[in-house]
Subunit: 283 residues, 2 copies
């Protein structure tokens, strides 16, 4: 019931980055969804099961030699809720079928390589859902904002990323990129909470406060990402994240859409079923 | 309520391998648990939350520099339910905190190395729960049963494995080894199901039937594993697995016990909380 009535338009249309202005974004909106928090949470519980079933099919096909995969790329400012997505959305599928990778400040070894080196090493295997908590986009976001390389270096990366993703998609990976945004106020609230609760201290980093001063520069860098890497083969979705229930529901729907697009069926038996049944009786 | 009354003894005692004879094992028993399936499932739902909370603390400490970890080693014949444990038990914790690895037939590259090479590469990072779906024990199980190396080669491995695990534990990994057993009849039923349902074909391998003929040899090989590698630093638990609900509940409890043994607290703030609060107000 909820499913048929709660979305006024498909989430892929409601969130698609085409023409989005980051500075105008209403981060407390729930694009395309007509219900409230309660309806959203109820629907999420239901849709998590659908996602889990589809993921099992993907995994089954991977085990049977299908090399296709899905890659969810999560980008967002601190506190946007990337970890919560992993815990609450990816947490609803079989851990065997998840290739998770978080990309922080590059290690000394990673720094010796091209910025895509560490990314390539963590691409999902066939049949897996890959999840990137941050990604190669850090190299045109934090790197650009803080001048970690000269402009002529990061400037070339947008096209390079498009080519990289083109190849990835041609090789059979469905790429779902989600840019997660909270307002500056909502971020303050969430950081406050991390400072108020001893069980949240570990999530807090004083540097998160420093980064708030760079908000306009980050908005500009995100805008460039959306303007230049929102391709048809690897589209960006812009996700308002002040409401955690909405962001979780929306990403669940994006993953369902990606998996449904693969038109997966259960793999055919690569053995003679009747013959094996007869063998089993005797075994 | 259920918690206080359903276990007649701690699961670590009820399942500890000391003196167990594999050939005498009642695989449909539910050692230490007094309740029925319904009680077991209700308790599992509750204890999954406890496990998840403890796992978050482990992860939080890992993020704060604690290098300790937990490693769950799952060994068992086909259909014993290793995959179900990953899906239903490990699936209840945050995927960010899980390092999962499945060890199948060694790849050509793996074959070029010592058998522990691929194992070492997949050990859990600090703060993670590692899960091995099969493990280095394959090298004294299938390898021994099928004479894949000469006896004087596998013969030395038991002591070597004990030393390997000793080092692992000294380095801060809690090792929980679970040997999962179903009866030959129950296995036949489960294989039958995989042949009866098109959505299960992918789980079936004709070789699983061949292996049934080696049941006594596998029992003997498992017995040797239990007799020779059931150490105090890395104990074996012997798990009857005809009842899936019991095996899931029991492993949940084993993991809870392992995590509680670490006496984890939330990590201390490595910054001045009041100072950061003041900074945040202004930011």
């Amino acid at each position: 019931m909820a499913k048929a009535t709660s979305w006024s338009k498909p989430v892929t249309k409601a969130l698609r980055a085409d023409g989005v202005k980051v500075s105008d974004l209403n981060t407390s909106a729930t694009p395309g969804f007509k219900g409230d928090k309660k309806a959203g949470e109820a629907l999420l519980a239901e849709r998590a099961g659908v996602l889990s079933d589809l993921q099992e099919k993907l995994y089954a096909n991977g085990r049977s030699g299908d090399t296709r995969s899905v890659l969810l790329v999560l980008q967002g400012m601190d506190t946007a809720g990337k970890g919560g997505i992993v815990r609450h959305v990816i947490g609803s599928v079989d851990p065997q079928g998840v290739d998770h990778a978080a990309f922080g400040v590059p290690t000394p070894e990673e720094k010796k390589h091209h910025y895509l080196w560490r990314i390539r090493r963590k691409l999902p295997r066939g049949g897996q859902i890959g999840v990137f908590d941050r990604s190669h986009y850090e190299d045109v976001l934090v790197v650009r904002v803080h001048d970690l390389v000269p402009p002529d270096v990061w400037e070339k990366r947008y096209d390079e990323i498009n080519r990289f993703e083109r190849k990835l998609v041609d090789d059979g990976t469905v790429v779902v990129k989600v840019a997660m945004f909270v307002s500056l106020d909502e971020q303050k609230k969430r950081l406050q909470q991390r400072l108020d609760r001893a069980d949240k201290y570990w999530k807090f980093n004083p540097n998160d406060i420093d980064e708030r001063a760079f908000w306009p520069q980050y908005q500009e860098a995100y805008q460039a990402v959306l303007d230049r890497t929102n391709t048809d083969h690897a589209p960006w979705y812009v996700l308002p994240c002040d409401s955690k229930w909405y962001s979780r529901l929306a990403i669940t729907e994006l993953l369902i859409d990606a998996l449904q697009g693969l038109k997966l069926d259960w793999p055919e038996a690569n053995f003679d079923v009747d013959e094996q049944k007869k063998r089993l009786v005797r075994a």
